[in-house]
């Protein structure tokens, strides 16, 4: 598995929650995502702290969306997850004395910083509502092709 699929995971979870009335348990979400309820709780914790979702204990408890899907972007989700590292590459040594390495670091830092900014802008233009719409389109196409089964979710 690739490293750090948290963004992918929570987006998947959020869209399932959006397609569902009422709360979804960590167990149910874990089942959708072929993982463990504890992983779900751990990963979703950041979104709860950011106020994007709510969690309730006890009977009929679970996770519910607490935001407007058209107002929340992937950038918000990324931030709620604690802004994990975007790039798999980095400097070998962040505080080199060697002037050669300082020049290399400066060039790479500039580049990666600039590109990360572009990524964040791109994320900032992608709302959860857009993802949900794309899913709806895929579901419609699937139903048209396959008949009317419900097992696409």
């Amino acid at each position: 598995m690739k490293r750090d699929s948290r963004l992918s995971s929570v987006l998947h979870a959020l869209l399932h929650m959006a397609a569902n009335d009422g709360p979804m348990t960590s167990e149910a979400l874990a089942h959708c995502m072929h993982t463990n309820p504890v992983v779900v709780r751990r990963t979703m914790a950041g979104l709860r702290e950011a106020g994007l979702v709510r969690s309730e204990k006890g009977h009929n408890g679970g996770w519910t969306i607490a935001c407007d899907l058209s107002e929340v972007t992937l950038r918000d989700i990324h931030m709620a997850l604690g802004e994990p590292a975007v790039f798999a590459m980095g400097n070998r040594n962040e505080t080199p004395e060697c002037l050669v390495e300082q020049a290399v670091n400066a060039a790479l830092d500039d580049t990666f910083h600039e590109i990360e900014t572009l990524l964040m802008e791109r994320f900032g233009r992608l709302t959860l509502a857009q993802l949900a719409e794309d899913f709806a389109r895929r579901l419609a196409a699937y139903r048209q092709k396959m008949g009317n089964e419900q097992n696409a979710i």
Copy 2:
């Protein structure tokens, strides 16, 4: 240590080689980079295969630059290294049956692909010669400030 500092490492090595007449041994490069000669050989192997550097065995052997620094860009280096993964994030499951996950993957794939293209364009505009010039500027500034010691490399 952050993951995958190979690009940073080989750039550091190349600039040291550029600043040196005659071949540099893996041992010498490893000393500059605070690592092991075997790591140097392994990392530089891709550059050799791409024809960017040459290596010679025996007495007076070692690594030499085999390209025009003003013609080679970071993109060439990245490719010579085997185009390692750029992003630390990725999809949880690359071939999902779930339509929700397919929609999420499609959005993330598009985004990351677009941003990776921008990064490669940026890399393609950054030559080794530019890095070497920046190092030269830093060295001049250092000498002006510190006197004329030679130990900046």
